[in-house]
Symmetry: C2
Subunit: 121 residues, 2 copies
């Protein structure tokens, strides 16, 4: 079946969540949002492109930082209201310079930092 971004289920703001996962390692890197145009741009360019809710603009991941996400494969869930982008991430995915945004674990009722920022020399 030929894919049309309009067939996805978007929220009241026209957005759909997209999980980015590193190919090979399976590491979950981040979650951000796309609108239908961002989905189409991601597929057309092979560069993962989100919709920035704070800036209300397209956000080509890594465009300013160089920490690009090359799309390996985009997947759709059963309800068509969530996306999984399998990617090849250059450097850290998180704006804190950590590989993943999910660097805080809850252990024994405490918040524990399980990942340190990547040092760039």
């Amino acid at each position: 079946m030929s894919f049309d971004p309009a067939t996805l289920v978007y929220d009241a703001n026209g957005l759909i969540p997209c999980i980015a996962q590193q190919e090979g390692t399976g590491e979950v890197l981040m979650m951000a949002w796309m609108n239908a145009d961002a989905v189409a741009r991601t597929l057309a360019t092979g560069r993962v492109t989100y919709w920035s809710r704070s800036r209300q603009s397209f956000w080509v991941k890594g465009e300013s930082s160089g920490h690009v996400q090359k799309l390996v494969e985009l997947r759709v869930d059963c309800d068509r209201d969530c996306l999984l982008a399998v990617v090849d991430q250059t450097g850290p995915a998180c704006h804190t310079n950590r590989r993943s945004c999910f660097y805080t674990a809850l252990r024994g009722g405490e918040e524990v930092e399980i990942m340190t920022p990547v040092s760039e020399g």
Copy 2:
């Protein structure tokens, strides 16, 4: 720092998205929503508990199907507006009886089913 579910960032409906990932394999199984009480219940019981938006009730994953998600570790992202539950999933996570909800891949502009339902004999 001691963890309080009230410190997470919820949307206008009081919900936060939670990604479930299988421990060990790294497979992304599903994404669903939690409210603050569901987060607290998940941590207290070790059984991943979502908030069902369609039923407007707690949804203890696997309670009726037996396909439970045992919590291994709950993680919080940098913006505190998304959760990652590392889990041990019994059987399929998807209501279609597939291991993961992300069984549709976009390849060459087409939708391709990359995962078949688990047969239970």
